[in-house]
């Protein structure tokens, strides 16, 4: 919209401003492509490198595979450890997401719509978590999990992740739930709806978009998490995909091609998810910050 608006189309005609606009456009495109290349080249390097042999890569880092070899990929896809790690990551991410959406929505409802004395303090307590750096929490969380006998358990990763997802969840959900008109709730109450029924049958469905945003943010964060799983899951049977990638790297340090293939495969779920949910991830992150 804006380009046309202040590019000087109107009376001035197509003369100097028009040329300048086209120049700017060309410059913009060049820069954009350059930056695009900086992002894409490493990704291509990984995917293509997985089809080469380690010897080839060492001799010439930038080249097409000759010939294309799939055995690095097939070996990983047919190994059980890769799928085991995908499964662990998925389990943790799903548990964390369900926990954060469930408990977060329940807590956001009274924080948005009830009147009680501790409301401000309670909300402040949750918001405070936004600035609690996960890096500072990792060590004491480990101690806490050991106390609770949750070390080396997938729940031991999922529950703290959910807890740390709560602040953002409540910050996003509260204004959304507050914006739902009071008349709607009054009408529901007159019809004999309890607060629980209102929450379950009216508020939750109406909060769908905000819940989806929260769910996706939590899921992606959990799927990518490294530090907490690293500390909590010491047995390789519990490894998540990020731990698996790092482990594969140290296990096959000398075999670059294998590492590239493993890394490429581990990118697939995240990138596929991103392509499918891009609008919601982008909209959600942007909205979360503005909310």
């Amino acid at each position: 919209v804006s380009v046309v608006a202040y590019g000087g189309s109107g009376v001035s005609g197509a003369s100097w401003p028009g040329v300048r606009r086209r120049l700017m456009q060309a410059l913009a495109l060049t820069v954009a492509l350059l930056v695009g290349a900086i992002v894409l080249v490493p990704l291509f390097y990984v995917v293509v490198g997985g089809f080469r042999s380690t010897g080839e890569i060492a001799a010439q880092p930038v080249a097409w595979p000759q010939p294309w070899m799939v055995h690095n990929y097939t070996e990983i896809v047919t190994s059980s450890s890769f799928w085991h790690e995908v499964g662990n990551s998925a389990f943790i991410a799903i548990v964390a997401t369900v926990a954060v959406v469930g408990t977060g929505a329940m807590a956001a409802y009274p924080l948005a719509r009830f009147d009680f004395r501790a409301r401000g303090a309670l909300y402040a307590l949750f918001v405070f978590g936004l600035i609690f750096p996960a890096g500072a929490a990792a060590l004491p969380i480990y101690l806490m999990l050991r106390q609770l006998n949750l070390l080396d358990s997938l729940l031991g990763v999922a529950l703290p992740e959910a807890a740390f997802g709560l602040p953002l969840t409540i910050v996003i959900l509260r204004p959304f739930m507050r914006a739902i008109p009071a008349e709607l709730e009054d009408a529901a109450v007159i019809d004999g709806c309890s607060r629980f029924a209102f929450f379950w049958r009216i508020l939750l469905p109406l909060s769908g978009p905000a819940l989806a945003t929260v769910a996706i943010i939590t899921f992606v964060a959990s799927w990518n998490a490294y530090q907490l799983p690293l500390l909590v899951l010491s047995d390789s049977s519990g490894f998540t995909l990020p731990l698996g990638v790092a482990n594969y790297y140290s296990q096959y340090t000398a075999d670059t091609a294998r590492i590239l293939a493993f890394t490429a495969l581990s990118m697939v779920p995240a990138l596929a998810f991103f392509v499918l949910a891009e609008r919601r991830i982008v909209g959600g992150l942007a909205g979360a910050v503005r909310g």
Partner: protein, 329 residues
């Protein structure tokens, strides 16, 4: 995070009764209050339990154990007061780690802000392939730190892809041991960090740009502003709140920095890329100094808190006063 003025959604209309009803009404009101309290408790308690157990609890744990000399095994009995804190601030490596965190935060603001803003302004224009390019810019942001770290580890190896690129463009003389040179490694890591997180900034700035009404820019053009002037005097000031929030998140993120560093250098060589987070994990888990590591955790927490409070107080307060709406309206 603005606080919207609250209107109690559940106003109780008890009706204006006579004085005789008074006792009845207070009884009803009390019952209602109790019920309100119970219902609130039921709704809030699962989240509160989770939060107290895994967010507030660990903080208290850390504060407690930071006062002990403790290997993490058995009970903590060797009370040393604030000695761990004194030790931490006396350790050159810990002070260097704090400095590294501040360096990364400063570099992020100085380099990523113009870069991200420029990219967002580009992507806000119309040109063929824009949607695809957007997807590309954001891709690194959704990849895990582990993947990003491994990719760059491989590319930055001596004689790896990066070195070949430098030679190909005739800058072979600039080649260093990117991850092993004491004076380079922190900046190498900053490049990796930028590659990974710049997409997040672009997302935010784009969202901010789309919130700027076209009429404002039209007005600027009618007043004779060219495009660059319009960007400088209209777009960027209107993006102020978004930029400040990005800055906040970027700084907080810089202080949490762990994954990328740990996976590529473990904070090395000889501490040249260590951050507070890698330092405390190194001491807690690899050297079994859990009391000391807890003290470092508390220091990291306090620094983050002070910065957050200062930043909120100085820069973000304006945003809650509706700077945008006032300027636009």
């Amino acid at each position: 995070m603005r606080l919207v003025g609250s209107a109690d959604p559940r106003r109780e209309h008890l009706g204006a009764g006579s004085a005789a009803d008074h006792a009845d009404r207070t009884a009803i009101a009390r019952r209602r209050r109790i019920r309100n309290g119970i219902e609130t408790g039921l709704f809030v308690s699962p989240a509160l339990a989770l939060y107290l157990l895994f967010v507030v609890g660990p903080l208290i744990y850390a504060a407690y154990f930071s006062l002990y000399h403790w290997s993490g095994l058995g009970a903590a009995i060797d009370f040393v007061g604030l000695h761990n804190y004194v030790l931490a601030f006396q350790d050159d490596l810990f002070r260097a780690s704090i400095l590294h965190n501040f360096t990364i935060a400063a570099l992020s603001i100085v380099f990523q802000l113009p870069l991200g803003l420029g990219a967002a302004l580009l992507l806000n224009r119309r040109f063929p392939g824009r949607a695809a390019l957007r997807l590309v810019f954001f891709a690194p942001y959704v990849l895990s730190e582990a993947i990003v770290a491994i990719i760059w580890l491989l590319m930055l190896q001596p004689d790896g892809l990066v070195d070949h690129f430098f030679r190909a463009v005739g800058l072979g003389g600039l080649i260093h041991l990117w991850l092993a040179d004491l004076h380079i490694v922190l900046y190498t890591m900053f490049v990796v960090i930028t590659w990974k997180y710049i997409g997040f900034g672009i997302i935010l700035f784009l969202a901010g740009l789309q919130g700027i009404p076209g009429e404002v820019l039209e007005a600027a053009s009618i007043d004779g502003a060219n495009e660059l002037q319009a960007i400088r005097h209209v777009t960027i000031p209107l993006l102020g709140p978004t930029i400040r929030i990005w800055g906040f998140l970027s700084i907080i993120g810089s202080f949490q920095l762990f994954d990328l560093i740990w996976l590529t250098t473990l904070g090395g060589p000889s501490g040249a890329s260590s951050t507070m987070a890698t330092y405390l994990i190194d001491h807690g888990f690899r050297r079994y100094q859990f009391g000391y590591g807890s003290a470092a955790s508390v220091i990291l927490f306090m620094i983050s808190l002070v910065i957050a409070v200062l930043y909120q107080g100085i820069l973000l307060r304006r945003d809650t006063e509706g700077a945008v709406t006032r300027m636009v309206a």
